[in-house]
Amino acid sequence: MKDSKPSPGKGGLNAEIQSRIGHQLRAMYDDVVRQGVPDRFAELIRKLDGSGQNHPQINPAGDFDAKNSGRD
């Protein structure tokens, strides 16, 4: 693996930095995870029942259609 970073040179210090980066990344991410499921999504999933009629009537973007290749 090529590793062309401007390394601080000391393996220990680098490991410390890497662990700090990992910690920051997870802190950022987990903060959102902890917010749970906003009502709008709980409702959305509840409304669409499994009978296959998932018509995009709940459609904020206006153009949701997996088969619509004509967007853009």
């Binding site: 970073k5 390394s7 991410y29 917010q35 906003p38 709980a42 499994g50 997996a66």
Partner: protein, 181 residues
């Protein structure tokens, strides 16, 4: 497979992670929630193509990631999140120092190439294996590994090396590393 109650529960249970992924990718809370909503609609509309017993989170993440990328190409980040509107979506407002540190981290993350950013998030935060991350991104496992490594190196350079040329153990360095020594 048909949308059973238990599948619906599983999808619901994936929402917090989908949101975290979307926010980490896009850096914008409102846009992230739109992405999640579109992901859910698309997943539910295509639920028949989900293989029972396969990895539901990975399937949903794949949809979200592809939506984000097609959206990204279209919009090219016309709305930059430069003033920390991401932080406003956080429930627990961090204190001033932690807030600054957070903004710095967020800014550095946004500087990564998209391939590297998504690989790092999937492996380092979402907790996917390299194998699953490779499937989500549609590339080889080795590619994911090298993207994650490059992402870590770049973040490390951006956050901890840039502007501290000889990286001596001075106060600045100690402060940013948060050393307890």
């Amino acid at each position: 497979m048909p949308l059973t109650d238990s599948l619906r529960e599983d999808i619901l249970a994936s929402v917090p992670n989908l949101r975290a992924f979307a926010i980490s990718l896009s850096g914008n809370g409102d846009r992230a929630d739109d992405l999640v909503q579109e992901t859910l609609l698309r997943a539910l509309a295509n639920i028949d193509s989900f293989q029972p017993g396969s990895n539901l989170p990975a399937w949903l993440f794949t949809i979200l990631r592809n939506l984000f990328r097609s959206d990204y190409r279209k919009r090219r980040r016309e709305v930059e999140d430069s003033d920390g509107s991401y932080a406003k979506t956080l429930k627990s407002q961090p204190n001033q120092n932690a807030h600054l540190e957070f903004e710095e981290f967020r800014a550095a993350l946004d500087k990564l190439p998209q391939d590297q950013r998504e690989a790092l998030i999937l492996v380092g935060a979402s907790g996917f294996s390299y194998e699953d991350a490779a499937k989500i991104c549609g590339c080889a496992v080795g590619t994911i590994k090298s993207r994650v490594n490059r992402a870590r190196s770049k973040l490390s350079a951006l956050l901890y090396v840039e502007g501290a040329d000889d990286f001596g153990p001075d106060d600045t360095v100690r402060a940013v590393i948060g050393s307890s020594r």
